[in-house]
Symmetry: C2
Subunit: 357 residues, 2 copies
Amino acid sequence: MIRPGQTVGILGGGQLGRMLALAAARLGLRAHIYTPEPDSPAAEVAGACTVASYDDEAALAAFARSVDVVTFEFENVPGRAAETVAAVAKLRPNAVALATTQDRLTEKDFLAGLGLPTAPYRAVNSGAELEAALADLGRPAVLKTRRFGYDGKGQAMIRPGTGPAEALAAIGAAPAILEGFVPFEREISVVAARGVDGAFAAYDPCWNEHRDHILGLTRVPAGLAPETAAAAIAMACAVADALDYVGVLAVEMFLVRDGDGERLVVNEIAPRVHNSGHWTIEGARTSQFEQHLRAVCGWPLGATTRLGRVEMENLIGADVEGWADLLADGAAALHLYGKGEARPGRKMGHVTRVFPE
Amino acid sequence: MIRPGQTVGILGGGQLGRMLALAAARLGLRAHIYTPEPDSPAAEVAGACTVASYDDEAALAAFARSVDVVTFEFENVPGRAAETVAAVAKLRPNAVALATTQDRLTEKDFLAGLGLPTAPYRAVNSGAELEAALADLGRPAVLKTRRFGYDGKGQAMIRPGTGPAEALAAIGAAPAILEGFVPFEREISVVAARGVDGAFAAYDPCWNEHRDHILGLTRVPAGLAPETAAAAIAMACAVADALDYVGVLAVEMFLVRDGDGERLVVNEIAPRVHNSGHWTIEGARTSQFEQHLRAVCGWPLGATTRLGRVEMENLIGADVEGWADLLADGAAALHLYGKGEARPGRKMGHVTRVFPE
């Protein structure tokens, strides 16, 4: 068990690392950030930072030796970097969880192996395979790179008129999977944690609305039937158990309403704290950031009790220029990530509103 | 008006500076700590730190030039240091507020000048003055150094058997005041903020219990009659207005119950965020730390709405060894200050519990 005063190493220096470092500080833990990026949002608030690339094995090993446990804030940490770290220090979540979730094909096979519902999918490594997959799954369908996709990047929708070659070109002809289109009513996610001892605690599922493929608005509760919410949480628990997961994870799902009523389709797993869990800072007894630290430190998980009806809105790009108005809104809790330039599509901050239920 | 991305300079590196720096980070502000102490709790979480003494005028001026506004986390910043800083940068609260509150005699004269009720008091600079003051005010009475007192330090109770020379020796024969004893039922405080525009916002008064002269437990609400609570807040507002105060302040008061019912006696003013306001982190819509930053940045004050019945318990010295039990208590929000050695009397952290009302 990690003790207050000891150091949590965090691979990645973005806003998730920043909010982890802030939560660590509240708990008397030190944070050491590892990031290739100078002047990262997380380094600003952490006691130590190593600026080095993810293929600098000497720097990774020195980092791992200098801390008491290592975690990560993004799922694209290269597998080799994770192994280098894990050879020296406790890596939580483990390298298998990372490897499973950073490749869409491996992830879908894993989910299917657990008997969890996913979109129909086929591996695609060539134009011929794409043609065959389209023949199987029909159109519309979504072609996605196996690796490095996020916020809609590395994806191409294949509609009735889209040529396969065009779609392959759009994703850079990288190894891919084709997913049959799921006619979903809404997207939800379950943010949950699993402890070193196998304890599991989920927040209430949340309803996520995207703008230009980037999360725009999260609402909790998600408006699910109670049995659907319970099923969503049970699926997240099955995923966490199967990965021997330690930390917070998010499982994104589609809610489909058809003749049989509500059903869920698992979309993807994020092996980390998640944008759709930011509402927990003000909206739950324990924030997802504290919860993640509790788990990776071998501490008991905190209460996930929700404190009201919650809305979390991302501030993307120029949205952040509304900061002064948001400060004047008595219901709004403003979070800014300390990023310099408000480029389009860049997550600059978020705002949370908790209402009595 | 300060903008996100700009820097707040904080004189002092203790836990109050640490929690200010954490609140600054959430709002996208940078924090620069100035402290004589290497490895201070605040520096660990701030983007910049100057380690230098409060009489290093060159370091103070360089610090002030490098930031966009300066505030402080403790009231014993030397007046000359405050003037050096204020000559270069905006100092909020102002130097007059600091000077008024760091000398108990000046403070009492200020309060009396506003017509606010205080304990009867006399200036004491010699044994003869102490004898005369005791003849006026009777016993028991409390002899307090004019400057540098906190947590019961620099105080001596003069009971019927106490010799004046003994009491003077106990406080190091420093310039002092004698205060008549106030037979109070409980101690309360009002934590409130005043903005650059003169706006004023108070949290609900809280009830403070001390152990060995150090704050042990804060409870909100304080169990006051509504008109007493309103009077307490009005007094804090009068103090803030008279000092042209900008930022959070705490006004400590005694609640006296006698033939006339409840009445209040102002004890002292803390020109800064205050231990009795730590409950606002989880227990109010806006924490006192965010509120202080809003004020010193020229931003609108946040809502002081209380979110339940709240108890805040200090972890003093060895209390901190109970951290693991506190983590297992689902109702407890644990805050640790990252201090190394748990010396007796040292504030190591605190724990807050918010209950439905």
